[in-house]
Structures are given as C-alpha cells and as structure tokens.
Amino acid sequence: MSDVLVSVDALEVHFPATGPLRKRGGAVRAVDGVSFDVLRGETLGLVGESGCGKSTTGLALLRLVDPTAGRVVFDSEDVTSLPAKRIRALRRRMAMIFQDPYASLNPRRPVGASIAEPLEIHDLHRGEARDRRVAELMELVGLNPDYRQRYPHEFSGGQRQRVGIARALAGEPDFIVCDEPIASLDVSIQAQIVNLMERLQDELGLTYLFIAHDLSAVQHISDRIAVMYLGRIVELADRAQLTEDPKHPYTRALVSAVPIPDPKRERRRERIILEGDLPSPMDPPSGCNFRTRCPDVFEPCDAVDPALQDVGHHQRAACHLYGVVGEEVGAASGDPGG
C-alpha cells in the first residue's frame, strides 16, 4: 500500500470562452499545470485567493469537471480516463463537503433523505439498516437523529454544515475534498466544525484536501499546505515551514497580510502590500505569472516559466530567486530545466 492516496500530475482545466469573447478564441485557464500528491491520512491544505483555481482543482480531482489535460490517480486508478460508470462507483470513496450547505442540500427534502441518498446510489444498507445508518451518521456529526424529518431551513448554518458532512461520510469514503467548509459560518461556530472534522479524521482515518482562503484556519488543520496563484501552485511545504519561513514572494505577501488577533504583534508586523490586482486568467503574464505584482521581479521572470523546485526543508517553491529552473517562454515543449 503506497503512502500516496491521490496523485495529481500536470492537471489543467481550461474553460473555453463563450459569448462575445468566443470570436477571439482563448480560454479561462482556471487550473494551469498543477502537480501534487495527497498522502494517506494527511490533511493537505490548498490555499489561495478568489479566482486562483483552488475550487476547480478540487472538483477536477473528483471529476466533477473534466480536466483539459493531465492526470489524477486515486489509489492506483486513473480518475481522468475512467468511464463515467466506474467514476460513479469510485465517488463512494471520494466525497466532497461544500462551502454553503444551504445551496448544496435540496431544500425540499428532509435532511435524513439527503443523508440517505449516497446509500441509495451505492446500494448500501437496505431497509431498516439504512435508517439505522442515517441515525448513526447524524449522531457521528453531533446531530439529533430525531431531526431527520426536518428540512434544511429549520437548521442553523453550523448544523446544516453537519448535515453536509454526514452526507459526505455516508459512503465511508477514504478521501474528502472540503471546499471552504467554514467560510460561511460565524466565528464561534467555525471552531465547532473544525474540531468535528479533526475528530472524524482521527476516528475514521480520513484523508482531506482542505480548500480555503483563510490561511490561519488552513494552518491549524493541515499537515502540509499548497499555495495557489492564478492556476498554478507557487509553493508547497509543511505547515509550520510555510507560515514561518515562506519562500515564494506571493506566499510571503499572503502570510504578511493575514490579520493576527493580537494588537502587539499587529503593530510590530511589516506588511508586504502587493501592488495592483490579479491579472486575467484568460491572458496570464508570460513566464512567471506573478511577475506583474512581484516585489522581487528580475530578468528571467518574463522569459522563463518557473518550475516548482526544492528549496530545502521539504519545501518547494516556483520562483527564480532560488535558481532559474523552468521552461523558456516560446520554447517547444519538453526538455524542462534551462
């Protein structure tokens, strides 16, 4: 049994432009060449700002969107090339928790029926055993099983997220993609859900991909963290390493911008304020796509597309400051390493 549960290799998801932009051709390069492994039993945090492609990456891992190129291998099965029928069976083992459980639960179905749906689809626990399983799942996430006939609007945000988690657990998955599971919850409720997810991981031996924009929460729950910017992973490291000694200039700016609930630390901090806004993912800058906002930009940045390179301490960064490694812009594909 390998230590790698999910392996992602050069994943690309491009959405072709529609409407008036279609004539010009081109595509939104939401995910633009992303490679990483998720180890069995770990939580890999995937952090980045809106539009960086983190959610699309999560969807592509479960093939809820079709990748344009690249491969996703889940426990030695190639998710990207499996026929639809086999994918459905595989999704029993790969589940998803969404940001807004109000939007992801059917408002006209009692929550018990929503939780039972994966059991129906995968034909698990028939008859009374199915009801018992639903009750068990509700208890597992801290919901009263007597509420199974209630509708989503009768629950608070935190409770709805518990319903979403119970449903994700129904098929006894190995791997769960958690897409901003606490972003829409109040501060005092976020900690309840984070604690629940950690307890479930210990009890059930789950592997998480935890997608979020909030680096403080990601740091708390993750073992390793990958940082995305404009469709690429710019840095990947152990959690403490990434937040204490970030190497990529974007990660540095991100870490320095996270507000810290401690006025004394806040006053001492040196913020790296990035200039400007995120470029369009339809027309990313050549070479390093962060170079238009980077405070450390220098000569090779527009000419060589930086590859993710080892910078020590199990830390990898896609930046020329640590040696110019990558493919030259305009060069034919193949032969990486300049």
Partner: protein, 339 residues
C-alpha cells in the same frame, strides 16, 4: 452639559440608550437593546459581533437608514448639539454623506451600476459643499488619486463593473471621504475582499484617517482586523455591549466569557494551538426569543452566579475604560498564570 474632563475632549458623536425593535408576525425582534458609546475625533472605534448581533442595524440607525416602520428606533444620537433621531428626512439628507458618511461591505451592490464613478463621486461635493460642477470634478479626481486609483482622470468615466473589487472599494472610500466627514462608519469594508487586497484597503483607510483627522467606527466580525485598526473595541452580543476596552486590554485581558470564548476559538497564524480549538457551544440566540437574564448564559461555560438566568447583568466599569457585562469575571490573565 458637564465640562469635559481635562485631557479628554468633547466627543464628536454620542450614542445614548439606543434601541431598535422590529415588529413582525413572529413577534417583536429586539435587535439593539440599549447601547451607549462616545466617538472622539480622530479615533477608531471597533464594534465586533457575529451575524445577527445588531452591529450593522445599530450603525444604520445612526444615519436614519433603518426605515420606520417597520422598525422603532429610540434613544439619543447626539451630534452637532442635537439629537439626530429627531431629524426630518430633509435634515437627515444634510447630514448623510456630509458630516457622517458610511462605506459598505459590498461595493458592487452599493455603487449605482448605471452611473459613472465620476457622477457618483461629484454628487456629494456638489450637494453638500455647494461646489460648481468643475470644482466638484476636480475634487473627485483628487480623491480618486488619494485612494490610489491609477489615472484617476480617466477612471472618472468608468462604470463600476469595469473596476475590480478592490478598486470599487477604493471608489466607495473616496465617496465616503469626499465631503470631509467628521465620522466615517465602515461596515465590514474588507469582508468581501481577498486578504492581500484587504491589507491594501486597511492601510489606505488608516492613512487617510491620519491625514484628514476623521473618526472611524469600524464594524466587523473579524478579530484579526480589529487588532490592527482599532483604538477602542466594543464587543456586541444579542443587541448589547458585553465588553468595552482599549484594544490592548481586550486582547491581553478579556473579562467577558463571550470575548474570552471568541479569542480562544480562533486559529492564529504562527501560533501552535492545542489540537482542539476551544469552541463556544450552542448558537447565538434568536432576537425574537431571547433567553432570560444574561443573553449569553445558555452558552456560558461558567454560569457561576445564580442570577445569570434571571437578571441582565449591568455593564460594569472595572477601571481604565474597561467594562464588562457579567456577574462572574473570567480571571485576569496574570492571576491565571500565577496560580
């Protein structure tokens, strides 16, 4: 009025015993339950609370922006020597955007999508400062430049959808400050923004505040942002202030169990917390069905006083501008480590 104590100037804005109620089929929601505070020139006062705590409604009512009916607003908002709550709609219009201005969370819904940035930015100066069209335009261009919008002259003719989220919030800030308000109310101004853009906007507001001497009431749920911007903090729960302190005291020595719980439940960047966060149990109360006694008592881990369920504790001054609404005090941080 009493003479101001030496060293502390008269507040620019004084809110006294403000109540907001909404009547509905499901009963009366008492959303703001008697809050009082002063705002001094140039300071940043943060009001922190979760959704439904009443923080936004309380500040909207300072500007007469809570429609009555269905709401009933009572109490006093003393500004410029009178109670604003007695104003007619005409009088409100002279105040809003002039002496008291507001910026909102989502600039896409609060900017008018069919008017140019320039049109929206010149409206205030023309109306309130009586500037000519040309002068108002010059002032607008100046403010767009000050909020860091590149080529402001050209951006005057842009529509909101042509700008990014961060740029739209900069436009909102320019509109808010264009008439030199004495108090700027910023209602979750950075919540809709990404964290690197949030850092830009926080820095911008602080910088302009220093330059113009404006007082800012900063409304947010984010205790991280508060730590960086505020001078004083008011913590709101179920329509009341449960704790008031200087920013340093609040974080170093929180005395209300709710504040204590909020700070304990936050993951903090660069700090290794115990495996489990200390979550606050339960849910915030429904404003139409508030608990008896202390509104926080059903969630409170202490409840050491038998009065908790029966009486509303008073907001009690515990020295140096620190006040807390409890019968029971969370022990002092220093004592806790000593014992």
């Amino acid at each position: 009025m009493t003479e101001p104590a030496p060293g502390s100037a008269e507040p620019v804005l004084r809110v006294a015993d403000l109540h907001v109620r909404f009547g509905g089929r499901r009963g009366v929601a008492h959303v703001v339950r008697g809050i009082s505070y002063d705002v001094h020139a140039g300071e940043t006062l943060a009001i922190v609370g979760e959704s439904g705590s009443g923080k936004s409604v309380s500040t909207l009512s300072l500007l007469g922006l809570v429609p009555q009916p269905p709401a009933q607003v009572s109490g006093e908002v003393r500004f410029g020597g009178r109670n604003l709550l007695d104003s007619s709609e005409r009088e409100w219009r002279r105040v809003r955007g002039n002496d008291l201005a507001m910026i909102f969370q989502d600039p896409m819904t609060s900017l008018n999508p069919v008017l140019t940035v320039g049109r929206q930015l010149t409206e205030g100066p023309e109306l309130h400062l009586g500037l000519s069209e040309a002068d108002a335009r010059a002032r607008a261009v100046d403010f767009l430049g000050r909020v860091g919008i590149p080529s402001p002259e050209r951006r005057m003719d842009a529509y909101p959808h042509q700008l990014s989220g961060g740029m739209r919030q900069r436009v909102m800030i320019a509109i808010g400050l264009a008439c030199d308000p004495q108090v700027l109310i910023a209602d979750e101004p950075t919540t809709a923004l990404d964290v690197t853009i949030q850092a830009q906007i926080v820095e911008l507001i602080s910088h302009l505040q220093d330059e113009l001497g404006t007082a800012v009431i900063w409304i947010t749920h984010d205790l991280g942002v508060v730590a960086g911007v505020a001078d004083r903090v008011l913590v709101m729960y179920a329509g009341q202030f449960v704790e008031e302190a200087t920013v340093d005291d609040l974080y170093a020595d929180p005395r209300h169990p709710y504040t204590h719980g909020l700070l304990g439940s936050l993951p903090v960047l660069g700090v290794d917390r115990p495996d489990q966060l200390v979550a606050i149990a339960g849910l915030p109360p429904d404003p139409t069905d508030l608990p008896s006694g202390c509104a926080f008592h059903p969630r409170c881990p202490y409840q050491l006083d038998e009065r908790c369920a029966d009486e509303i504790p008073p907001l009690r001054d515990i020295g140096q501008g620190h006040a807390t609404r409890t019968f029971y005090e969370v022990p002092d941080a220093a004592e806790e480590t000593a014992s």
